[in-house]
């Protein structure tokens, strides 16, 4: 009886892990698109609105959805609360802090971190160039993420269940 319950538990856990992995595969392209959207919003604020960076970050964050917007909001909060740190420090701290909330990987993290040393310290055209470049790179990451999604989303769901089944068989 206990064995059966244990087996069921293992099966359930395995399936859940599989579903969780699948959800991450599905969330990554979506969040990449959202990230591209908030960065685009940031670009608009900078290039047309001449909005100061802390406020521009705040506004871009408001127009986006969690957890992606959380990164920008955190950066804005850090800028406001620690006026002695540079934007680069605030940005890097915010990205490091909030990245685990998202389903995004190291590639896009490097792209976003690269914005740290350049945002806010050059003229408008330069800012636009840097943001456009980041958007372009995010776009290609998004395509790759979509391919991964079609390839691995269903697979990881069944893989979770199958591995759990294997463990159960071995235990029996």
């Amino acid at each position: 009886m206990i064995k059966l319950a244990g087996a069921l538990l293992v099966l359930f856990a395995g399936t859940m892990i599989g579903f969780y992995q699948a959800a991450r595969f599905a969330a990554r392209p979506r969040q990449l698109a959202q990230l591209a959207y908030v960065l685009q919003r940031l670009e608009t604020e900078i290039s047309y609105g001449y909005t100061p960076l802390p406020e521009a970050l705040q506004r871009a964050a408001e127009s986006g959805v969690e957890p992606v917007a959380g990164v920008l909001r955190e950066a804005a909060r850090r800028l406001a609360e620690q006026p002695d740190s540079s934007f680069r420090e605030s940005w890097e701290a915010a990205v490091t802090d909030r990245w685990s909330d998202t389903a995004m990987r190291a590639n896009e993290r490097t792209i976003v971190l690269r914005l740290g040393p350049v945002l806010g310290i050059s003229d408008r055209e330069d800012q636009m160039k840097h943001l456009r470049l980041a958007l372009l790179q995010l776009k290609s990451e998004e395509e790759a993420a979509r391919e991964d999604q079609t390839r691995y989303e269903k697979m990881s769901k069944s893989l979770g269940l199958l591995l759990a089944a294997l463990i159960v068989i071995l235990m029996m």
Partner: protein
């Protein structure tokens, strides 16, 4: 006042400035920060170099030298991490921050078709500490009252640079718009609508369109606007009763002053000149003075006791009045026995 400048400085610099001797702190005028070169402070008309512990030296060898990190932090903070939003300011070479303090910048310029587009690689900062003096015009305002109209005479303030023209004109704007006319008989006069054209952001020191200095409740400020255009814009849109403008001297300024005078608006302007004779030597000013656009000229001199004023009346018989008096004003004038 110092608090508002302190929050702009990176910790390293703020620490040094906070440790300066109290006596020099009170008179602090300038903080000059040059990358990798000695930190210099100006106070009470003198200059000294500041050491890392806030001590003052005449010799630069003992001074603290701000490095690249400190300078880039300072730049980030005075631009609010947004250099791109400061294009106009960088073109002019200075940034006005809250409190009216002005930070001059020096570095490598970028040219666009022969014109300076921006400064990049900024290596020199000059923080000029602004002080507004309430009551700077107390000795002047009573002499400039236009009794029949219950307002101010159109006035030209003249004086060499550094004599406090801007300080006085700022305080004039405040008194007029607040209706504190500095004269017991004029105590009941209302405040007037004041339009200020602040081409160099010196009068109001606006930050994002809002004046940092107190200009009274009824002042509208056109910030960073060319004087002639700004006066015309104010005339068209803000119905000012008094227009305050700094440093007129170009032909188009004169046109706008004339236009304002004929629209019945009292113009208060400053001009660089040693005295009235000197002002007459400048064609633009002479034509304005001779046409009777200004009813009075005031010469400013800084002395130990403060700013001294010499008021000269310019209104000649038969000179065109800036505005036809209204019927009720004429009645009042007749009742007083001084019909115009």
């Amino acid at each position: 006042m110092m608090n508002r400048i302190m929050h702009l400085l990176p910790q390293e610099l703020a620490g040094i400035i906070a440790q300066l001797p109290m006596s020099s702190m009170r008179e602090l005028e300038e903080i000059r920060i040059r990358q990798d070169r000695p930190l210099e402070v100006g106070f009470g008309g003198r200059f000294q170099f500041a050491g890392a512990d806030g001590s003052l030296h005449a010799r630069p060898e003992l001074a603290y030298r701000p490095d690249q990190t400190v300078c880039s932090k300072l730049l980030e903070r005075i631009t609010n991490h947004s250099l791109y939003a400061m294009e106009e300011e960088l073109k002019r070479g200075y940034i006005t921050v809250a409190g009216g303090h002005r930070i001059g910048l020096a570095g490598r310029t970028i040219l666009n078709q022969g014109e300076v587009k921006a400064i990049r690689e900024i290596g020199g900062f000059n923080i000029r500490i602004a002080r507004e003096i309430h009551g700077a015009c107390a000795g002047l305002l009573p002499k400039l009252l236009d009794w029949p109209r219950k307002t101010l005479l159109p006035t030209l303030l003249i004086g060499p640079p550094q004599q406090g023209k801007t300080t006085v004109i700022r305080d004039l704007a405040r008194c007029i718009s607040a209706g504190s006319w500095e004269h017991p008989a004029a105590a009941s006069w209302p405040g007037r609508k004041v339009g200020v054209v602040d081409e160099r952001s010196e009068i109001a020191a606006s930050v994002r369109g809002v004046p940092s200095f107190d200009l009274g409740p009824r002042a509208d400020v056109m910030d960073a606007c060319p004087k002639a255009e700004g006066m015309m814009m104010l005339l068209r849109s803000m119905s000012p009763e008094v227009i305050v403008v700094d440093e007129i001297g170009r032909q188009e300024d004169a046109e706008a002053v004339r236009e304002a005078a004929h629209a019945g608006v009292c113009v208060v302007a400053t001009a660089h000149a040693y005295d009235l004779e000197d002002a007459r030597g400048r064609p633009v000013l002479r034509s304005l003075i001779d046409e009777g656009v200004f009813a009075a000229a005031a010469r400013l001199r800084k002395s130990q006791a403060g700013i001294e004023f010499d008021v000269i009346s310019l209104r000649r018989a038969g000179a065109p009045a800036a505005r036809e008096p209204t019927l009720s004003e004429q009645k009042q004038a007749i009742a007083r026995g001084q019909p115009r």
